[in-house]
Symmetry: C2
Subunit: 338 residues, 2 copies
């Protein structure tokens, strides 16, 4: 028995706009009978891309006109002040008015966060929302946050991130008593700066399943489920992961195609290499959650293609279904965590 979920899609956001967001939405509607989508943006542009498919989905597909677009390099405060009829803003408004249970956007990250905070507000007990994503690890996934919303964080904020990450890991992927690690530059108690030292004290005293400090390499190990860090370090780590994966992929390709003989040899490993490539494909992990808001907001990579953006919609669908925001709020306001 599945509950109907409505997702507001910022159809104009991202590097490719409606040419990606509309087909991705139609694909998801086809796959998921309980899904309803409101495509938000220029009605004429969206209609021309939807054209002919209205009958297929009936009331499950709606278009909501919005006359403005937030640019990818626009200052968040400018977007918030001057773009009150942007596709991004209207999509978030639909979550606020409860016409949608989640919003998905590939638009400007800073503007999305600022607008979502302004419209939806943060949950009681949360100082600042954070960006959380699933990171591929050797035996599944690691949940990591903050990935860039807050360059500087207090120990209290790091603690709140741990609670939020723990709830998401438990509710979304059913991880039982998620192991929470605090990212640091050594595993010994005395290492790091005052910020992580103090956050470690809060975590040790909490009912969370806190396992202590972890290091950069532990993100990919099977020893931790939730990795907590400030938005500066988290963003650098995330981009570093992307950079290394791309470089290694490039090196492998170079070596396998260096000569005709090597190219021929690589053919014999095609199934293995295809599967390897699929496992590393960042498009498979697209869709970061802005946690700590009173509503589900999912950020897709700006350069997402149809497959990738579809995965971001899927993340929104799951979070909306599980009521993650309500769960975080409940635990933080009760002072009773995970």
């Amino acid at each position: 028995l599945s509950q109907n979920i409505t997702i507001a899609v910022d159809a104009m956001g991202g590097d490719h706009g409606p040419s990606v967001t509309v087909p991705a939405s139609l694909r998801l509607l086809r796959e998921t009978p309980e899904l309803q989508i409101i495509l938000v943006g220029s009605e004429s542009v969206i209609q021309s891309l939807v054209s002919g498919r209205e009958g297929e989905f009936g009331a499950r597909l709606r278009v909501q006109n919005a006359t403005q677009i937030v640019e990818m390099d626009e200052r968040p405060q400018d977007a918030l002040r001057k773009k009150k009829d942007s596709s991004m803003r209207v999509a978030i408004d639909l979550v606020k008015s409860a016409e949608a249970q989640a919003c998905v956007s590939a638009g400007n990250t800073g503007a999305l966060m600022a607008t979502a905070r302004f419209v939806l507000k943060t949950l009681p007990g949360v100082d600042r929302p954070a960006i959380l994503s699933r990171i591929p690890a050797h035996h599944g996934f690691t949940y990591m946050l903050d990935l860039g919303a807050n360059a500087d964080c207090t120990p209290e904020q790091l603690f709140q991130f741990a609670v939020m990450g723990s709830v998401v890991a438990a509710d979304i992927d059913g991880v039982s008593r998620p192991r929470v690690g605090l990212l640091n530059i050594g595993e010994e108690d005395m290492k790091g700066n005052e910020r992580v030292q103090q956050a470690a004290k809060y975590l040790s005293a909490s009912p969370l399943n806190y396992i202590g400090f972890v290091e950069g390499n532990d993100i990919f190990s099977d020893e931790v489920d939730v990795v907590v860090t400030d938005g500066f370090t988290g963003n650098v780590a995330l981009k570093t992961i992307e950079g290394v994966a791309k470089m290694i992929g490039g090196m492998l390709r170079e070596e396998l195609t260096r000569s005709s003989i090597r190219k021929l040899g690589a053919l014999a490993s095609q199934p293995a290499l295809t599967e390897f490539k699929r496992r590393l494909d960042p498009r498979g992990y697209n869709g970061a959650s802005m946690v700590g808001l009173a509503g589900v907001v999912i950020k897709s990579h700006g350069n997402a293609d149809e497959y990738s953006f579809g995965n971001a919609i899927r993340v929104g669908l799951i979070e909306a279904r599980k009521g993650v925001a309500t769960e975080i709020s409940k635990l933080l306001s009760q002072g009773q965590v995970a």
Copy 2:
């Protein structure tokens, strides 16, 4: 015409101690006629491993007895206070007394840094030394610092790191006007925290070839030679790189050996895969420099094997030859950089 260089090797340091450091030293002596090595540590242990080779190297190989060993998990201040006859301390003392032009150790990083600062002092104009390493990038190397010596850094320190990294890149690998980037969570001017904002101002006003903010993925691009960051972020990024590379290597192996047919197929790509593995082998990049000290101190990975530790000795040899410390000192004290 090559100048003779003497390197003091902390023979007892690292996870494997003399069983790695002694054979690695002998190998390097064989390869490099202008190299002289002083093996520092338990004379009896070292002599038993050297035994029979003394004649081969004559005066180029010396053993200097030291009765203590710094443990890998010992507190830096304890090592400094209580281990005045440790192999690590005596090796650094040999640099201080100019009997050696560089010291190489696989021992406790914190203790090595604290002892080196105490014995050798920092260069004029340098607040704190930093750990610098070459990171494999798509088209060669990127020099990155600080990799963990200073969890918190001031803008002034970040600026000094940029100067030191620039000198090393120029002097060691002959990079002409090294492009210096400041690690941040976005490339736009307004991004990041006050620390990087202020450091960016110093860098823009300096004669360094400062190219602006770079992100985690840029470390591996061909657009930057020196990546500057605080020791917290740098250490997390470094360990993250190691973790991703290990995970990706593991995934590739898994896919290539999932079945007998796949194993057979992979045989056809053996030369390509071997070369790929070699390029990613972290042992090939072993040897981080502790820059900003009045002397050359090289930190090897604790778990280095003979091949890997040999590379750390090579880094010491090159830095001693090039007189990097003198060069940094000259530029910083003249206020005239790169």
